[in-house]
Symmetry: C2
Subunit: 462 residues, 2 copies
Amino acid sequence: MLSQTDRPASLSDALRRRRQKLAAQIPFPVLLWSGQTSSRNFPANTYPYRANSHFLYFAGLPLYNAVIRLESGRLELFMDDPTPAELLWHGDRPRRDQIAETMGADAAYPISRLKGFAAGAATIPVLDAATRLQQSHLLDRMMTPANQLQDMDLALATAIVELRLVQDDWAIAEMRRAAAITIQAHQAGMAATPQAKTEAEIRAAMEQVVIAHNTTCAYNSIVTVQGEVLHNDHYHHAIQPGDLLLADMAAETEMGWASDVTRTWPVTGKFSGTQRDLYDVVLAAHDRCIQAAVPGVEYQQIHLLACQVLAEGLVDLGILQGQPADLVEMDAHALFFPHGVGHLLGLDVHDMEDLGDLAGYAAGRTRSDRFGLGYLRLNRPLQPGMAVTIEPGFYQVPAILNDADRREKYRSVVNWERLEQFQDIRGIRIEDDVLITEAGNEVLTTELPTEAAAIEQLVKSS
Amino acid sequence: MLSQTDRPASLSDALRRRRQKLAAQIPFPVLLWSGQTSSRNFPANTYPYRANSHFLYFAGLPLYNAVIRLESGRLELFMDDPTPAELLWHGDRPRRDQIAETMGADAAYPISRLKGFAAGAATIPVLDAATRLQQSHLLDRMMTPANQLQDMDLALATAIVELRLVQDDWAIAEMRRAAAITIQAHQAGMAATPQAKTEAEIRAAMEQVVIAHNTTCAYNSIVTVQGEVLHNDHYHHAIQPGDLLLADMAAETEMGWASDVTRTWPVTGKFSGTQRDLYDVVLAAHDRCIQAAVPGVEYQQIHLLACQVLAEGLVDLGILQGQPADLVEMDAHALFFPHGVGHLLGLDVHDMEDLGDLAGYAAGRTRSDRFGLGYLRLNRPLQPGMAVTIEPGFYQVPAILNDADRREKYRSVVNWERLEQFQDIRGIRIEDDVLITEAGNEVLTTELPTEAAAIEQLVKSS
């Protein structure tokens, strides 16, 4: 277990500062629901509970079926004490008054009192249908999805985005813990690879670390020899000599804070020459983007820098032909790098994506329809306190490379014969978590190596 | 990885037999939905997908957002082929026509064609709200929860219960695979215990086995030194010398079939004298109940047999005082064994519990309001092909034992001073999966030892 001794101040202090900042922007009361579990195959067999992230930000604790009310810096907690049946089946647990004290709440009531406190309150709809129905009933209005907010709910969401964009010390301490566990998980995955027969066995070695620290995976792990499948959720493939293993997986702390890390390694512990060449191209993009990720820089420029460095590297390897800047202009890089270079990170692995692009895109900006830009999830100037991922990649996606229109459009800029010499690379991605600071940035996941030789060492040393 | 070579016949044969049996009971068409994923903290971050169990029973494959139509033994599949974006993000996958062939479907259509096939169809509502809304729209009627069905939907559910109560060869092969992985997981948990500092580390060692086999946990694992918390979902407690570790966890196969196993072991590899005495009482109840679980026997009699054997053992140990039969009559056993001795097992770990007690309770029977019987989930005569759990236990639950009314009621039959000598036992449960056969029964999980000495050996040998 990792130490939590570097956690700053107290939870109640951190929460007080957050709601004071909210109160400075929002003149109306706010109700935030934690939500409830979703069921799997029958009502009592539930998925592991995850509290709503906006609730977690202001409540600090992953309470179940609870509501908080924020007004002018005050915090009121609404939740029920356990029933005798709950005590029997789920054991003893802190009572409402103890929890309220831990949070620094000004008052605490049973849920039944909530209807007396609902008038004029804004909210953010949660994802589970049962709780959303409660929200509608209590506030006497239909809950739209959280990415289609209007009026005071939209004003609330906009204010929360401003707060959550800038991670405070409490958040950073949590994200450091998530990152430290994630690093151990990736090291365990690399060490387990030479003996593994299937992707599932490597995934198991990685997730074991997350489970052993009493944390959860921040998202469904990608652990695959088919790295070109960007959101691969299969783990049944056999490990074959010569494969690259792409692992995109990370821990989330008990309080909900996420990490998000990808490494790609040769299953034998030795990159082939072609694999190493392309790995170093992706790594160059990764390193240059991290260097460039400092306050004031537009994140879209970081993305375009990744495209530029990738194009340069692919030209050097003879895969692309032409001037890198021209190639990026015509989206030729996107044949091999069809996603964005990263996104916000925080309580959600794609932070605040429940609000659509409200957090990711600065006011007035919308998604591009360019092939090479449309998947970019973040388009804002960087500022101190923001946490983002940097995750360039190179992929050979049949659905892209075999598309007749694209082959025709990029006929003269791709050396298809040369590309065939790189058939032992399906997908490479290198992803780290970067905290923007006044002085530049700090890579939260820097202890996990990225250099090809160091990666080989971690795989082989097992 | 375990071999799947003992799987009988083909999937399409197994499915054909199932729907022919359904057709013999149901004269109207049936639509069954697979359902969709539920989201965790934002729409794209989903819980692992689990298809609806009734769908799985007749479709055989965990298809996503698909519908099957059954009528007179015919099978029609409705699902969409992947879009270009799905191919890019989620990779290539079998097309509708290939899937239809694997299933032995008579026809296959895109989802949009479904509305032409909906007239007069019965269904079972799924759990996810988005799909339930689709069901309502298509069938033009409100979907009630699956445990409150009426009319043709109730007739369908009743017919499905009759089928699913009796496991066929295909199902049994899947349950054997789930059991075999579960046995490995428990062995791994025992082996990891002497070095473990927290419950979470033992849980991790167990779930690693499940993940490595590309299966999932059939339910949220219970891995706890607080065994008296019956549905404990915390894993943060430290392991202390003298603790008993209660682990109730099991695998579910890719096709959805479950196992459900509990073992209790001393964390040092050595039971104390008191722990061993009580362990042997629970084991006697476990063994006697399994011996008694044969065709024609009422499952409630198995439960009452567990109560009787426990009461006998507690009298022998001087914890209870009186005639065992009288003690059971007055529910004194339930002070220490407040749950039922088991339940149906199949595609759901509590099989068909989405239908309330329709599967668990024979027609005309309802839950008892007796303290010692009300939690019993199964009250039917056993028949060949049924799979059930047998899981007696002994617990010291403060919410029960400190209850003033109960202490008064059972004042003279409990030797409270003697009970204090057993303070190093919080909870013991021993649970196996039992298939009822023509000849009696077969314990699917028999390769995992239950004897105290054998358990000690597995913990110590690490």
